[in-house]
């Protein structure tokens, strides 16, 4: 129980950190582009790295937000059927969905050792290796997998508790 609470605290911390990073990157994109436009307008000089850096930050914003969105349940979910299901069946469905998500994340993470070495080459005008673009994505996938392990545990417990209640009533 203590382990679960510890993991939950870590995930909550990661959520806050990732949200802060994503917002900071978004703000940085706005500032860089504002300065670039102002510089072009006032001094007739452009910042040459503004465009490629914006591209990198944009990718990172999406990948850092990936975990936050799933953690907060702000992803697109169709629950019109599950909401009408009996509580026990709903718990079973949620457990099934969690297993699928975990399997998918494990599949993605298993590909990381193959994909990362292929994403070589310095990004021009930025100077970082291309694989850095994908690092936040793999981090998010790892955290989503952990998040859904906890959800799976919750769904199984809910399923079993309902079964016990039903037995007690009968």
């Amino acid at each position: 129980m203590r382990l679960v609470q510890g993991i939950e605290r870590c995930l909550a911390l990661a959520e806050k950190a990732f949200l802060f990073i994503a917002n900071s990157l978004l703000f940085a994109m706005l500032v860089i582009n504002f300065i670039n436009i102002a510089s072009r307008l006032l001094f007739d000089k452009a910042i040459i790295w503004a465009f490629p850096l914006t591209g990198v930050f944009f990718v990172w914003v999406i990948f850092f937000s990936f975990f936050v969105i799933y953690r907060r349940g702000q992803d697109v979910a169709i629950d019109i059927l599950t909401r009408r299901m009996p509580t026990r069946l709903r718990a079973a469905t949620e457990a099934f969905v969690a297993v699928i998500v975990i399997a998918l994340m494990v599949l993605v993470l298993a590909q990381a050792p193959v994909l990362v070495p292929r994403q070589v080459g310095t990004i021009d005008l930025i100077g970082i290796q291309r694989y850095w673009l994908a690092v936040p994505f793999f981090l998010s996938c790892f955290l989503i997998a952990i998040e859904f392990v906890l959800r799976l545990r919750g769904s199984i417990r809910a399923f079993l508790d309902i079964a016990d209640d039903q037995k007690a009533v009968s």
Binding site: R40, D44, K45, A46, I48, W49, A50, F51, P52, L115, R118, Q119, V120, G121, T122, I123, D124, L125, R130
Partner: protein, 333 residues
């Protein structure tokens, strides 16, 4: 004596075990980013058809145009994995494995296409390509200088550019490439990085005044509508590298490789004059709408760029053996 039944079993086993012997047909996938109707799209299809013809149907090539199988990086990964067999594009895309290969497109360095061809046939370039094959498992088949792209590079500008003096302060769109950006800044241009698809709108709004492009793409991008001056400057010669999965290519027997290279050379010879003719037709059409076209004297630009390369060489920023190879291939002219 082998019984009829046993014979049948042996035949079935043989079919199961050796279903794809070298004598049997193979299907290759060629991915590219051009439309099927463009001159390059037609050239790639012609090469695919010719491979089938020359190998007597042993190899059939399916062509996937318009980035149907993904963009550059995705296709290069598929090429490494062997799910895509051929990818015709600019050789500079291979710089992610060997950054020095960027210098194949060094601006205003090569005297002409022949000089560039000799440079590309040098041991230095062969070494770069060998390194890519070892690191990435991708090889370049044929002589990429024969597959003409462009066929030459121009600058499309909102205001007339007659020579080096007009480049000073010119707001020029550039792709994110350090060498190209540094070179044009050395020539005095105010370089601005923008996406290729944003150029039309950006010229219209005055964010940039000019863009460099292969002549073949000017009309299709409609740049001349917002920048009615086309200046041929021959920034650097361009060819198309047919990148192939090295394992598949090296796994072919000599005869099949020879047949494919024969197909390559025939298609290259057939399409080089067609590419030039199409460019001439496009220029004639654009001129009718009031567009000006001129070929500028690039000697002052080349002289100024010589200072740039000397400076880079002094700082040790050029690849080892680059300057000597450029000079050696120049002398041979």
């Amino acid at each position: 004596m082998i019984s009829f039944k046993r014979g049948l079993v042996l035949a079935a086993v043989a079919l199961l075990v050796f279903p794809f012997s070298s004598a049997m047909a193979e299907t290759w996938r060629m991915a590219h980013k051009q439309t099927a109707e463009s001159i390059e799209g037609k050239m790639f299809q012609a090469f695919a058809d010719k491979i089938g013809e020359k190998t007597g149907g042993d190899i059939t090539v399916e062509v996937y145009p318009s980035e149907q199988l993904g963009k550059d990086d995705a296709i290069l990964e598929q090429l490494q994995l062997g799910t895509v067999h051929l990818y015709p594009e600019g050789g500079a895309y291979l710089r992610k494995w060997v950054p020095d290969i960027t210098f194949m497109s060094a601006p205003f360095l090569f005297q002409d296409r022949d000089h560039w061809s000799r440079f590309m046939a040098s041991d230095l370039v062969a070494g770069w390509l060998e390194q890519i094959e070892a690191e990435a498992g991708i090889t370049v088949i044929g002589d990429q200088t024969k597959m003409v792209r462009g066929p030459y590079r121009v600058m499309v500008t909102a205001k007339p550019v007659a020579g080096l003096e007009d480049i000073e302060g010119l707001k020029l769109r550039m792709h994110p490439n350090e060498l190209a950006a540094a070179a044009w800044r050395h020539l005095g241009a105010e370089v601005r990085t923008l996406a290729w698809t944003d150029v039309y709108e950006s010229i219209g709004r005055g964010i940039v005044e000019a863009v460099n492009s292969p002549i073949a793409l000017v009309e299709s991008m409609r740049f001349q509508e917002v920048a009615p001056n086309i200046v041929r400057h021959n920034e650097y010669p361009q060819g198309i590298a047919f990148m192939a999965n090295a394992r598949v290519w090296n796994g072919l027997d000599d005869e099949t490789r020879g047949q494919i290279l024969e197909a390559y050379n025939e298609v290259a010879s057939e399409f080089a004059p067609m590419t030039a003719a199409i460019a001439d037709e496009a220029i004639a059409r654009m001129k009718e709408t009031g567009v000006t076209y001129q070929e500028i004297d690039t000697a002052p630009i080349v002289a100024k760029m010589a200072e740039f390369y000397a400076e880079m060489d002094g700082k040790g920023e050029l690849p080892e053996g680059f300057v000597s190879t450029v000079r050696a291939t120049q002398v041979a002219q």
